[in-house]
Amino acid sequence: MSPASQAKDAPLLEVKDLQIEFKTEGGVFRAVDGVSFSVRRGATLGVVGESGCGKSVSSLGIMGLIPTPPGRYAGGEVLFEGRDLLKMSAKDRRGLRGGRMGMIFQEPMTSLNPVYTIGDQIIESLRAHRRVNHKEARERAVELLDLVRLPSPSKRVDDFPHQLSGGQRQRVMIALALANDPELLIADEPTTALDVTIQAQILDLMRDLSDRTGAAIMLITHDLGVVAETCDEVVVMYAGRVVERASARDLFQAPMHPYTLGLMAAVPRLDEKGSRLETIPGSVPPPWAMPKGCRFASRCPLATQQCRAEQPPLRAIDGDRLVACWRAPIEEIAA
């Protein structure tokens, strides 16, 4: 294999054993504990989990946006095209963010500056990363707004955020994220605050744009439906750790981890009226009382002595599927 094609096959983003801690009054707790995954060029990776699983902290960590203190990077690497983001200078990191790495957040109202027009905000981002004059930047801003299908972009470019609806604001956020032709788009719950018909429009738009620009997407969400519709690969997180990693098709067809299984069975279906929803008894252990072994053990009906004592590593089962469970594949457990 030639070095060039090797570089092409290398993942765009590789997170290795990332550990992030927070110092609180109650002591130090680890919100992200040894998380590893990678994003391929042009692919969409979903990071899914319930509140408190560490998915948002991971994404902020990748972008170097964890406030330190109270946060602290306790270990690991975040390789963007082979360079460790955590070892870069703050200036270099800032050059990447908004440049080759775009970001979309959940709340478009608080992520946009209310006292500047949306055009000014896009122009600012453009001029921070490349040498263009104001006129060129403005033309590009209108182009971008057109790309994200904001109606009459040459007029709306002078609107303030409050003049736009929630869906339109999220389109502006996407335009802003795409301003400098990023290779990676990190989207943290980009459609959670939106109505379903608007959500469908935005997801359509994101799919379409990644097809057209070839940007890879890392999508953080709690919504399994959104994951199924948009992602190629999925990482499932629970209590600060990755419990399962698989292609979207494999994961939804046959999840392996008891947590993922429970999660899927708990989702009410639109296409059939099920009898009774499955539940996962109990709740996520609080960060200050994380068990020594598997963090799901207290809620897992299959937990053994080993599960309670030792943390299961993420290991390959069945080809390229990765599962952190001592008992997987569970169908082989004798009844």
Binding site: E50, V196, A200, A228, I280
Partner: protein, 355 residues
């Protein structure tokens, strides 16, 4: 036929905007217009729609938490809208509400026992030792333990807080509970627990529910009948099975096909509707959905369609094109794979063995 608990007829709520003490309001927000439905004992009517469609205002107007502008609300045959404040207070014993935000709807300075005791004493449900007993029983009913009674809201998770809110709603032995997005703030696994709890309670106590939600999957699961609202009006009302099998209003179809489903590779039959929902301050002429509707014709721009019956399945729909052939809204999901079924069976068996 079970007795009707709630009868809502032509309920309307308009909010005046602008103006002053002696001046006429400049604008009127038509939050809810001409909404009618009934709910029988043991039945769940779901109101679905997107933000701003008036579903929450409808719920609040039923409870008279906001005064309706016009229309009638009858609880067990008694008119609620005409009650004096004293009588209304007594009436509220029979109708209770559960809200979306379990963090904002509990007083942080009151223990769970105090929270539950307040309505019990206020409505004279019980007193003294019997009231204490009733609190303990309520906690057990919603799946909490007696020792939880002396704790404060901040000591509980979101799901547990929602259980407390449900216990509070049950404390006066109501006939009707209006649930306004009761599971929207909860994680999937916890959401399932609360949905199951609400269903169990309904079966045991014969409660009538008005279940307000934006989540069609949850509605499909819990509702007997569904009313779809758009910009303050009901655009379609039908038995739940019927609504999902054969939605007649283009907006209902759009909602159903826009809802993301946990099945990779399923393409929805239709494109999501374009644009945003219009403002209730200045609703479009004719049918409010016409600017976004793929079927819109001239008549839709001029005349607002009335809610009328269509087909034999008990569907009411407000659309000039209700008879137009509809694309199948939902591609059926493929059957559960053998390995998934096997794994779920192992989990279920282990859970049963543990119990």
């Amino acid at each position: 036929m079970k007795p009707l608990v709630l009868e809502v007829d032509s309920l309307t709520k308009h909010f005046p905007l602008g103006g002053g003490l002696f001046r006429k309001p400049v604008h009127v927000v038509q939050a809810v217009s001409d909404v009618s439905f009934t709910v029988a004992a043991g039945e769940t009517l779901a109101i679905v729609g997107e933000s701003g469609c008036g579903k929450s205002t409808t719920g609040r107007a039923i409870m008279r938490l906001t005064e309706p502008t016009a229309g009638s609300v009858k609880l067990d045959g008694e008119e609620v809208t005409a009650l004096s404040s004293g009588r209304l207070q007594a009436m509220r014993r029979n109708m209770q509400m559960v809200f979306q935000d379990p963090f904002g709807s509990l007083n942080p300075r009151m223990t769970v026992r105090e929270t539950l005791m307040e309505p019990i004493l206020l409505h004279g449900v019980a007193s003294g030792e019997r009231a204490r007993h009733w609190v303990d029983e309520l906690l057990k009913t919603v799946g909490l333990a007696e020792h939880h009674a002396d704790r404060y809201p901040h000591e509980f998770s979101g799901g547990q807080r929602q259980r407390i809110c449900i216990a509070r709603a049950l404390s006066t032995r109501p006939r009707l509970i209006v649930c306004d997005e009761p599971v929207s703030a909860l994680d999937v696994s916890v959401q399932a627990q609360i949905v199951n709890l609400l269903q169990d309670l309904q079966q045991k106590l014969g409660l009538a529910y008005v279940f307000i939600s934006h989540d069609l999957s949850v509605v499909r699961h819990i509702a007997d009948r569904v009313a779809v609202m758009y910009l303050g009006r009901i655009v379609e009302q039908a038995p739940a099975e019927q609504l999902f099998a054969d939605p007649r209003h283009p907006y209902t179809r759009a909602l159903i096909s826009a809802a993301p489903r946990p099945v990779p590779g399923l393409r929805t039959a239709s494109e999501p509707p374009e644009g945003d929902a219009p403002s209730a301050l200045n609703p479009p002429s004719g049918c409010a959905f016409h600017p976004r509707c793929p079927l819109a014709s001239d008549i839709c721009k001029q005349t607002r369609p009335e809610l009328g019956s269509v087909g034999a399945g008990g569907t009411l729909v407000a659309c000039h094109h209700a008879d137009a052939p509809a694309p199948v809204a939902l591609e059926p999901a493929p059957p559960v794979s053998a390995s998934l079924a096997a794994r779920l069976a192992v989990l279920a068996a282990a859970r049963q063995a543990a119990e």
